[in-house]
Symmetry: C2
Subunit: 207 residues, 2 copies
Amino acid sequence: MNDKDNIAKSESTEQKIKEAARRVFTSKGYAGTRTRDIAEESGYNLALINYYFRSKEKLFEIIMMENLQLFIGSIIGMLNNEATSLDEKIDQLVTYYVDMLMVNPGIPVFILNLVNNNPSALFEGVLGGNTVSDTVFATQFKEQMKKKKLTIHPLHLFMNIVSLTVFPFASAPMIKAKNGISDEEYNQLMLERKILIPKWIKVMMDM
Amino acid sequence: MNDKDNIAKSESTEQKIKEAARRVFTSKGYAGTRTRDIAEESGYNLALINYYFRSKEKLFEIIMMENLQLFIGSIIGMLNNEATSLDEKIDQLVTYYVDMLMVNPGIPVFILNLVNNNPSALFEGVLGGNTVSDTVFATQFKEQMKKKKLTIHPLHLFMNIVSLTVFPFASAPMIKAKNGISDEEYNQLMLERKILIPKWIKVMMDM
DNA sequence: GTCTATACAAAGATAGAC
DNA sequence: GTCTATCTTTGTATAGAC
């Protein structure tokens, strides 16, 4: 076994533990996760977690940052893109969230938990100082409202887009259980929404 | 001290512990709550929790049922009311949720956690067998869609109402922190939404 | 009914062998 | 790098005094 194999094996183990941690933390949250769960899920021993990541808390921080990036970090660029119209931004946001959440359905609840249990200072670091009101997105919306002689806070538009797109994923287990809907049928509904939500948003904000 | 005083005092203590438990469980979830937190929050000793409620789990079940009732149980009647129109039902749902969530902002995240960590069997008991598709609400919506020659699943309407109303409360800490908005300003936005959401819903479903 | 003290179980972290 | 065994901390439940 040479150096290359050693490194490859080492990275693989670390990566496998991290992926296992991502799955468990994302579905059970910090307090609900036992390091023993992560060990079992990864197929490795409990002690390896400490060997690679020093502590449960340190490992959680890594997963948390990745999930925050996925949920919030990725959309900052879209909101501030000078080259796209407001309508295009709406399409992009909805598409991004639906596609991302179909692969990572646990993210919304994970983030909501985080946000409800942690000091707000947490977000300063991840997101920079960008407030929604300062984005190109908000400016474009305000211009459109001006033309129509309406005054609606840009946050309403933003909340509407995210609410309509993300909440159905967060509440999926409840909706499925309560309505006897299969995973496939639910996915189908979500794909319909990917088309419908941008249309809805446009007529809503046109009133 | 007579019997009446004894009973009054006893109920009061039990009630205080339950209220403390409600606050702590609702904000931190089951796994995140230590019985010591509840004891401290209530002002009583750790042992009293066991004396009145037997165990952490039993106490949690009580709080869980109350929160589920608040979040889901209360709206079944509205959805199945033959005496109200679809538009009136929409108004009622939005008003109910906004008013209830301004008092209990932690409920949505609590419920979402529950739903993501528990077997779906849990809901059978609380909600009876009512699926959204079987309600008067759904029937009225289908009739309206028929007139307009449209075919949209009634669940979309239901998800839209709940999403637009509930999600902004669930994500409030994030929105506030990220946009430098005070509690008062945020409440103001929510009150605006109480008026706006029914209007939005009506134009959305009219396309 | 309420408290103090403590038993008992679960979970995180680490030492040391291989 | 990986494992087994063990220490330590934290959390739940209960016994017994008042």
